[in-house]
Symmetry: D3
Subunit: 132 residues, 6 copies
């Protein structure tokens, strides 16, 4: 299996609901450094998993709609805890949609799977991986 | 599949038996930077793979029993080569035991798998991944 | 000159005032991975710049008073842009105060300088270095 | 499953064919930081996935035949785009051949799989993983 | 002293003249991950060393004129060895010129110094630091 | 000022004397990832701070005499606490001696200063910088 990864980041405010979260129930924030990993069984005719330029642009466009937001006020996330692993799934869903809609070029729909990893500090990260 | 990772470290002395190990047959030591990765198919009600606070505490407790030891003198490891990959498995076993015993909260037993990676330098690491 | 560095992190929400900041004028947030570097010309009797345990505890205590806060609502920062470089200076001031008050042990007041670096993403960081 | 990873690097010139590549159709170059990851289900008698010394030597020998080359002029790659993911597969093939031929010692042929990751910058990497 | 750093990268082909360089006398290439560090004694009215957006754009513009080139054919570098440390100085000169010409905003000319670091692999980097 | 850095590592066992050190008074160990940074005001005729090949070899030779040792039993360190910052100075002294003796080539004696940084974990490092 081949993989190709591009990295970008976004910065948001949010808070969590539930005693489990302790002081993280207060409004705070995070930088998420995001790795988007695209996988497929065989390379396309040009020798690529996916065009790295298009992959970077798609990731940037998706993160651009999250960047500099207070997620607590975003209708998309009402009633949800926007944990690192939850946000990884959210970005995965948008990358898969973009791949299917052709935003990664002709080869996008042929991807086997996508993995999204969000690094929230030097000691913690969360991820979601699923099929395309 | 969702994943959540926490990182910590420990520092030990040890030596290896067998000509394969060359100068590492002498008593020396290592810093191991440890990544403990917890995986599950679905998030719990609070949007988590596992409570990151509890995960960090469990990892710290396990590493705390290894930290600042000469592993050659530890009865747990008599007759064993405490290689990076061997220690990864050892820590995996203890994390799985902790998960089953509830030390990661109600969701611990529902984990799909755990992966433990020990980084011994900027150029080498070993890991073990297995089911819970 | 000798240096010793310890690393920790904190996560906050804030916003900036001024057109320069563009979308960062909105309430958002950041993870800051913090490097606190202590310098002195000669080692103490035990061979140390400073006790690494005490240095870690002092840094943790200082960051603990910032962690999981909305800095816009903190009286300490009213009317200020809590930029990365501004926060680096703030933490530097508190480390120097702690060193002078003996929280780093007998050798703290003998430090030559302290540098505080805040990494806000994989591509940007700010720092402040000054004398003790 | 156990894994062991060793890291090294090589530096080459090349160009790509196809409009997809934009300015990368010009002759340029790259540093590839290479992670070679070896996996097996059980450790050998000495507690190893593979001898880390032999693994490092094999990787170094393979990269040594690529290092400081203009890949456009190498007969091995005529008519191919030597993309990051393509080169990862190439190095994988050579590692597997070396493992089967005994260059990793008696345990080499017992490896389950090998993964090769090429990091081309702080924001992009490609990899190939396959069975041994 | 305050510092602010932004990171970007470029990828080039080149060769070196002189026996010292051994196999690097052949045409090869490199990825350079570039850290541009701006320093000043006091923050401006908005709490900044320099506008991070402008700093990133200036660095990107400078690297954009080097990216995907064969430096051996660039008239700017005829008769020069474009070593890592040489290129660091080159980029420093361009950043200082941009700062003086106002491309970093009103505060640019007030910078104390600029440091440029080029990371060419996981084990080697070169840098140049000078006044503004 | 120009700088050039090369990285390598070594792994040792040791213990510390003094209540300050707590559990680190027991025999334990560490991996030290070492950055050796060479500085000079002007480049030599070939465009170098120092030949990177020679610098890597000198560092490797110095670390090779420390690697896989129990420092408690080494006559060089009797009665000393081999702390991170102490070892950084030790390696600095040997690099400066090598530079003066010509092991870095004709330009070695012209170096302005050398800095040695020892990274002992993902959260702690120590260094020593001095003139040549």
């Amino acid at each position: 299996m081949y993989s190709l990864n591009v990295r970008d980041h976004f910065m948001i405010a949010h808070s969590f609901s539930g005693e489990t979260f302790g002081p993280a129930q207060r409004l705070h924030g995070a930088t998420y450094v995001v790795d988007a990993t695209f996988r497929r069984a065989e390379l396309d005719e040009e020798g690529l998993v996916v065009d790295i330029g298009r992959a970077s642009e798609l990731l940037r466009a998706i993160l651009g709609k999250l960047n500099y937001l207070n997620l607590d006020e975003d209708p998309r996330f009402m009633g949800k805890n926007t944990t690192t692993e939850f946000l990884a799934r959210e970005i995965y869903e948008q990358l898969v949609r973009g791949a299917r809609e052709g935003q990664l070029g002709a080869g996008g729909p042929g991807l086997a799977s996508v993995c999204v990893t969000l690094r929230e500090s030097h000691v913690a990260w969360g991820s979601y991986e699923g099929d395309v």
